[in-house]
Structure formats: C-alpha cells, structure tokens
Symmetry: C2
Subunit: 331 residues, 2 copies
C-alpha cells in the first residue's frame, strides 16, 4: 500500500463536509438518465455515509438502467417520484448543473450542501463544491477522497466506484485515463472490485433487440463529405421492428465515428414527430457542441446532442449536413 494522497486539499474539504453532515439525513442526488459514473458515485457516497453513521439514501429522477442494477446491491436508493424529503440535506454527484437532477428534486432541495463533480462546466451551485476537472470520472474523485481519508471501502463500494471509472473512460480508452486512474483501479481491486464481473454485467448482457437495433443502424450508415462524416439513422418504426428501447441507442454513434478516416460520427433518430441527434468527433478541434448549439443542443467538443421538435429525419438531415459542412469549411 502506498501513502500517496490523490487529492490532498479536496479530500480534507470532503472530510470536513462529511463531518458537518453527521446527525443529519442525507439525500445523494445524481443526474437524470443516470449512467455508470452517476450510479457508481451515488452508491459509493450513500454507503460511505452510512458506514460513518449517517442516514443516507440515493435519489434519482429516473430508474437505474438494467445493466447497472447489479452494482447497487442493498444500498438504499429511491426514485424522486416516490420520495418526500423530511429534512434531508442534499449532496449531488456527477451533476454539472443542478437542473440536471430534474424538476422535482430541484424543488425538494433549494440548497445543495455538497457538490462533487468532474465536469469543467460545473456551475458550482453547492454550499461546498468539490470539482476536479482533471479527473476521468466523479467516481475517481470519490475513490481518491475515500483512500486519502481512510474511509471504509467495502466490496460493493469498490465495485461501484470501479464501474464509474471504467464506464466514464470507455474502459480506460479516453484521454482522461491517467497513471492515477490505473493506480486507483488497482486499489479498488484490492478492496474487492472485480473487473471481469463488472464487464460481464456491463457488456455481456446485451438484449437481442439491441443487437438487432445495432444491425439496423449499421445497415443505414452513409458517408458524407468525402467520408469524413458518417451518418447512421434510426427511422420511425425501427424501435418497434427490433423490439429495442430508446435506451438501446446509447453507444451506437460510436460505431460511425470508429471508421478509419471518419472525423465526425452522427446518429439521427425519428422520435414521435421530433428528431434527436448525436454527434461524436475524434478530435476536439471539431467542436461538435457548436454544431449542436445551432439546433438548441449542446455538450462537449467531442460529444454533443440535440433535440428538434416537429421535425423528421427527412427534413432535418439536409439542415444538419449544411451546418456540418459550414463547420468543416471554417476550421
């Protein structure tokens, strides 16, 4: 075991913030449509608080997606719709903007005692804000805090934090993966995290419907702008035909981006009279967030999304191509 401190300053602030929560009831809030880092971070904070004698519950607007359910264990979690606050203090994890917890939870908690996040765009809406933008995941920050402060990391907590890191780095593939990421992964494994059982739950329990959706998406791929842009579609009726759900479209756009020579991958979906778009660039110089912004969307330089009401793929496709064309020309 090493004595290395991952976040010496922030870990001390975290310990002080936790100290203030003693004797209180705490609700740990994640963002709507929770992902691996959100669920992993929520589970970990709830469990650590409980291990320190603090009553805590995880709260989300939306249900935990099926592949992540295995990492919750017996951790107390509730849906916003089923919850009434009773003097709870709010802690948020992985929420750049407090709006992202959803309306009902926004109303329940006029104040946020502690905001832990890794998004550079974090709006620092908490009474205490611990934002480490260099971290690959909120779970990486929380793992660092626990290790630095010597908090108990049981096997469920270790696995939850590991899952947050593994999913938010795309299995250690994104540029946010640093030597510290591997060091923290190692120490979580020593606390009981199990990479292969995590991978089994995350990647080896795909529905056949999702595979059929992928097949349909790949069949639709079209190259644009001399093969620099690859566009895939989910047209009206495809969810019905394949039996897939809209959650199953997660990650499809990465297949478009992964093609050699493609610089921007695009997914356009027909969704009940509206259109949803996802844009993924290989290089941050492309600023797909700026393209998305033209249609009321937003996101990061390399990963952005948009929703357009009262439109269709047929109507939206040429509009989006024009915007992408302009963007490529002006680079």
């Amino acid at each position: 075991m090493t004595d290395k401190k991952f976040y010496p300053e922030e870990s001390a602030c975290f310990a002080a913030a936790i100290e203030k929560l003693k004797g209180q009831k705490v609700a740990v809030l994640g963002h709507q449509r929770p992902d691996g880092d959100c669920i992993g971070s929520t589970v970990a904070v709830v469990r650590v608080l409980i291990s320190l004698g603090i009553e805590a519950i995880g709260l989300n607007r939306d249900a935990t997606p099926a592949p992540l359910g295995a990492f919750v264990g017996e951790t107390p979690m509730a849906l916003a719709a089923d919850f009434t606050p009773d003097g709870h203090m709010a802690v948020t994890v992985d929420c750049a903007d407090f709006k992202r917890v959803g309306d009902r939870l926004n109303e329940f908690f006029p104040e946020v005692a502690l905001n832990v996040d890794h998004h550079i765009s974090n709006k620092l809406y908490g009474s205490k804000n611990l934002v480490v933008a260099t971290a690959c995941a909120t779970a990486e920050i929380l793992a660092g805090f626990c290790l630095d402060n010597g908090y108990e990391i049981d096997a469920v907590t270790a696995q939850a934090l590991y899952v947050g890191i593994a999913t938010d780095t795309g299995q250690f593939r994104f540029p946010s993966t640093t030597p510290d990421t591997f060091e923290i992964a190692r120490r979580l494994c020593e606390c009981g995290a199990n990479p292969s059982s995590a991978a089994h739950e995350l990647y080896e329990r795909e529905s056949f419907a999702k595979i059929k959706l992928l097949q349909n998406f790949l069949d639709s791929l079209t190259m644009e702008f001399e093969d620099r842009v690859c566009v895939g579609l989910i047209e009206n009726g495809v969810y019905g035909e394949t039996g897939a759900t809209i959650d199953d479209s997660e990650g499809l756009v990465d297949y478009a981006r992964a093609i050699d020579g493609v610089e921007v991958g695009v997914l356009i979906e027909d969704r009940a009279g509206a259109v949803k778009g996802s844009l993924r660039a290989k290089d941050p110089k492309y600023r797909v967030d700026q393209i998305a912004k033209q249609f009321g969307g937003g996101g990061h330089a390399c990963a952005a999304g948009l929703n357009v009401e009262n439109s269709s793929i047929k109507e939206f496709y040429p509009q989006l191509m024009q915007a992408i064309g302009e963007h490529l020309k002006n680079l």
Copy 2:
C-alpha cells in the same frame, strides 16, 4: 515509484538469459497471425535487447495487422519469407508451442534460447522457459521483467507492452485482469504509454468493409438451444460483397456471446470449400475446447476454434449443433 518486484525469481532468470545473449545476434519470434500481445511483446524484447547493446530483429511468418502497425515504430522487424538466419539465436514470445511460429521459422531455428509466455499449455520447448500462467499477457510478464531489472523502457516499448496488455485483457475486462495488471499499466504510462492514442489506433480505425461485415454477421444471428447458444455465419461470397478480409472476422463471435442469456457464442465461416468455426463461452465450465476437439480443433475452455476441410456451413451446422447439444446435456 514503488520498489515492488513483480516476478522476482523469473526476472533474475530473464536477466541471466539476456546476459548470455550478449555478443550474439538475436531473432525474436512471435506466432503466426500475430495479435496485439505478440506484436507488443516482440517489439518490446527487440528494443530492450538493442538498448542493452545486443543486435536483435523481430521475425514473424505473417505481416503485422494494419491496426498494430502503429506500435512498431522504427523497431527492426522482418517477415520469415524475407529472412535468412546468420547465426541468430532464437527467442520466442507468446508461443505456447514452437510450431506456432510456422514451418519456415521452425526449420531456421532448431533451438530456442529463451521462451517467454503466459499460456498454461506452454510446451517448454526452449533451453530456458519463463512461463507465468497467471499473467494476463506475455507483455505483462515482459513489463514486469523490465521494471524488476531496471531496463530502459522507452515510450515505444512502453506503448507496445501496454497494447499487449490492453488487447489480451479485452481492455481490462477478462478475469486475468489483476491489481498487478493495473499497477503495470500505471508504470507503463509513466514511461510514456498513452492509453487513448493506443485505443485510437486499435479501435477507431475500423474499415467500412469491416463494419459491413459486422452488419452482415449480426443479420445472420440465430438462437439455438432455447437461446443458450447464438450462432452467426459468414457465408460464401460475403467477404466479396462487403469488401472485408478474413482478418476482419476477428471479434465478431463476441457479439453472439455478449447477448443476455447466451452461454456460448458461435461463428461459422465458409472459406473456399472448407469451414472455420469459432466458439466462445461465458463460463469455463462449458469447455468449448472439447467441442472443437471433436472436429480436430482446440483452444481454451472459453475460446476455441476449428477448421474442417471439404465442408460447408450447410453440412457442418447440424454436426456442430449436435456436438454442442451433447455437451450441454452432459454438463
């Protein structure tokens, strides 16, 4: 930096073996149809030998697959067909059986000075055999040897070893991933390995033809044995239609295995009058190597392959299903 020794005993043997190679010319041999661990290990050993003043060259029967080419750098490498030995000593990496280097190299080198490998089935055919079956990759063993012995690990060597580990663990997903795997990954990053640029070369340079092959494969998926087995096909003509090469079929079978409830994923290919089969199980209790063995194939409990001459998918499919059915019944 930690002083931990990864393989204290074997590292000392490795250092002694290298000492004996001083003043000699060395050919570092990998297995035919080289993968990431083979290329990464070959590149690393050649570079380390050169850094120690030993003339060395990497040798393989088959060309380095395109996605791995980026990790070779200026390391001296040659194809067996273009090479004539001139008193070279042979070192093998990642070869369980010396036959796996291919006929021509078998003939060139009647003796193998050093055999470094992680396959439990290694035949110990070298004058010196350093086989660590608990290691996730041959590259993990070699990285441990270099770190333990304080050999120079330049950025190209670090990246090559990282790629060996990342590919042989399926990006840190297989059960062979241990705390030491992460510790070694961390230390390789500190020596200049770059996980995201490795991932870019490995996973973001797919050919459009490969994507079309995947689409075709997914379209062919059929469930058998009450959805416990999922079978995908590459029929005659599909390579031509999609423009894909046989190397592009690598990894397809994992899509069949990854479906929820599926216990064994299967790929059957028509190949010019012969049939090639790949079997992947989620759990080692299935022993797909035993199924493959009935058709002259073999492999590991969870990953096996076979080739049947003078057959076709149409003829072979029912034979294979019968063998799988018997195996499932007798579990």
